[in-house]
Symmetry: C2
Subunit: 216 residues, 2 copies
Amino acid sequence: MPETSKPLRADAERNRRLVLDAAAAAFAEHGLEVGVAEIARRAGVGRGTMFRRFPTKEHLIAAIVVDRMDQAGARGRELFADPNPDAALFELLASMVDAAQTDRALFEAVGDTFLANADIRVAHAELIGVLDQLLRRAQDAGTVRDDVGALDLLMMFKGVCEAARPFSVDVAARQLELVRAALRPVAASERLSGRPPTLDDMERALPQVKGKASAQ
Amino acid sequence: MPETSKPLRADAERNRRLVLDAAAAAFAEHGLEVGVAEIARRAGVGRGTMFRRFPTKEHLIAAIVVDRMDQAGARGRELFADPNPDAALFELLASMVDAAQTDRALFEAVGDTFLANADIRVAHAELIGVLDQLLRRAQDAGTVRDDVGALDLLMMFKGVCEAARPFSVDVAARQLELVRAALRPVAASERLSGRPPTLDDMERALPQVKGKASAQ
């Protein structure tokens, strides 16, 4: 039924969007304790649809995390066109701080085990790829030291996200400025030791969820 | 009984030390699932003594975290005598990375709610005080930018601790070098926005454990 499959897909995609937005809003408002049935109600979708698509709250949380990573990746790709590679890199990072502020609980819920979820792993690797390209552009332009890799940056960025709380001072802005300072070009004598970590290094270092991980 | 109270205290302190060391070793080896009874057995102390002192595993974990903070504070105070304030500051940070590597699970277990525990809060504030003094010494010597505070540094340091895992590259060393780069003195035009966060800012921003927090 090629005539109907497209509208159906569009409808399913619309429902999916409604659910993810309702869930993100509910979680931000009331924490992760909000039930899946309550989220279905808020999204205005049937419980059957809801539970077929997201059998558990973990599925829902993972889907929002993937969505956020996809959004950051899309923003990063737009920034490839920015004539100022340095501004582009830090604009992506700033938007990721904002996302961390809104979705802190979600990312914490996924935590260290995120690489055990295949969808998150793919979205994460794509986002790293985008970040890597923005970083290289700034490095080629000579505004960022050329001995850091995307994962070095991402780890440093944890401090920024840690600061992305409702502090009474804008601690996150200060942290981002410090990251920027750390990334300034340096003399040969001040280059980092070793080599930048890779995604493979990261996958080996992070804990795997038993069962799930080995099933993939 | 003033004659016996001192040896008794020394004995209690020795038992406490045995328990904390046994617990830290057991947790590092087998994770936080190890039971309190098993730790008593390893420490060679009676279960009665153990449960009187540490009624739950949470008490034990908090005591180890306090112990680690005290150790870092003591190391920091020794470093006040170091003639090179810059080396002293980064030596304390490096020792804290090592501790984070060994005791990652413990600090994660305490997590965001650590300020709800009065003992941890005191140990944390004291450690911040020591870090602040080492930072100021390096700032006075002109080797570290004077617009960062101890809590800016501690947040940046989260990235370093995040990297303190068994990666196949020494990511933690790279992160520490990046923190060092971020702390280099800067021109007036590159000073951080706002003011350094304070412990009060931090206490207001971190989630409190319900009940426990209000009882203090």
